[in-house]
């Protein structure tokens, strides 16, 4: 049916408009790479450090604020072993072992030892970690971490001391 010219003007076919790729290109070239670079894939954690009070000195037992005697558990980190000393009990020595050509500390055994101590002393929350100078920071932090996980939130950092005594005849 032939339309009058005025009516046919509105129904004239037009060609397909070219697809605007700009928003899609913006998305793939700008936004997604930017979001990927901002993506954080590691989670940071913090471990607090309690410092040994100078008044307590090295070795021996500590005293609580009311003067009561507090049992001291020490984790001493050597370069070839870890020693766990519990007052009134036999100390446990955990030697290092070789794995894939590297010397490694047995943190599984340390975890087990600390867990046993906690089981025997459920009211004890203090533990002292004493690293020797040639022990790595990794070993120190992981030892502190194991103590905290196994129920000793008050981990005290202490440095091994060398004391000299005058000989008396």
């Amino acid at each position: 049916m032939a339309f009058s010219p005025s009516k046919g003007r509105n129904t004239r076919m037009t060609g397909m408009e070219p697809l605007d790729m700009t928003p899609i290109m913006n998305l793939f070239i700008t936004i997604i790479p930017m979001l990927l670079t901002m993506l954080v894939t590691v989670q940071l954690s913090y471990i607090s450090l309690n410092l040994a009070a100078t008044s307590q000195g090295g070795g021996g037992t500590g005293n609580g604020p009311g003067g009561e005697k507090i049992k001291v558990v020490k984790v001493i980190l050597y370069n070839n072993r870890i020693e766990v000393q519990e007052e009134g009990a036999k100390s446990t020595s955990i030697p290092t072992f070789f794995s894939q050509g590297n010397v490694k500390y047995d943190f599984v055994a340390l975890d087990q030892t600390i867990t046993d101590i906690k089981r025997r002393n459920p009211d004890l929350f203090n533990i002292k970690v004493v690293p020797y100078p040639d022990v790595t920071y990794n070993t120190l932090v992981r030892s502190i971490d194991i103590c905290k996980i196994d129920g000793f939130p008050n981990v005290t950092y202490s440095i091994p001391e060398t004391r000299y005594y005058e000989a008396t005849n």
Partner: protein, 179 residues
């Protein structure tokens, strides 16, 4: 459309008003602009954190992996100290104060670190008396405890009451213990 009075059309004078054809301006497509602004702004507002920008894993440093995590002290104002195997960097500006060997053998290096940290605690207290100066030690896992102990000694002398070690958070206990 504007109207002009045309005095001369097709050779004849006339007072007929005709429409001036005004060229249509191209429409401005702001889809991409709103796209970028919306997604970027929403994502940034949700995710940006000044603390994250300051405290992140430094380049070329490997943190130990731990299971436990603790929150920073309330009203904490942190000062960051980075300990690499070959150098020590202080503060947000990463001031190089020397090597680890200098720390234990050179008194001047220890003094510089002490002065810097003491200055930081003074500034923190001056800005906000209720703020808690916190020292965050970011050390590579191969650094020896000899140097860490020295740094802790200097930090305590600088009146830092809270010292934290930065680590990576791990999930599975058995896996972390066997690392």
């Amino acid at each position: 459309m504007s109207y002009i009075s045309s005095k001369r059309i097709k050779g004849r004078e006339t007072n007929k008003k005709v429409r001036r054809r005004v060229k249509k301006a191209n429409k401005l497509n702001i889809t991409s602009l709103t796209d970028v602004l919306t997604i970027l702004l929403v994502f940034l507002i949700k995710n940006v954190s000044m603390e994250v920008q300051r405290v992140s894993v430094p380049a070329n440093m490997k943190f130990p992996t731990t299971m436990s995590t603790e929150d920073l002290a309330k009203d904490a104002d942190t000062v960051i100290l980075k300990v690499y195997p070959d150098r020590i960097l202080l503060g947000a500006d990463n001031i190089n104060v020397g090597s680890l060997q200098d720390l234990v053998s050179d008194e001047k290096t220890r003094k510089n670190i002490l002065l810097f940290l003491t200055d930081q605690t003074s500034k923190i207290k001056a800005n906000n008396p209720n703020a808690v100066p916190v020292l965050m030690i970011q050390a590579d896992d191969s650094v020896l405890c000899n140097y860490i102990s020295e740094i802790v000694n200097v930090s305590v002398a600088s009146r830092f009451t809270n010292i934290y070690f930065c680590t990576l958070k791990g999930d599975i206990k058995e896996k972390i213990l066997k690392l």
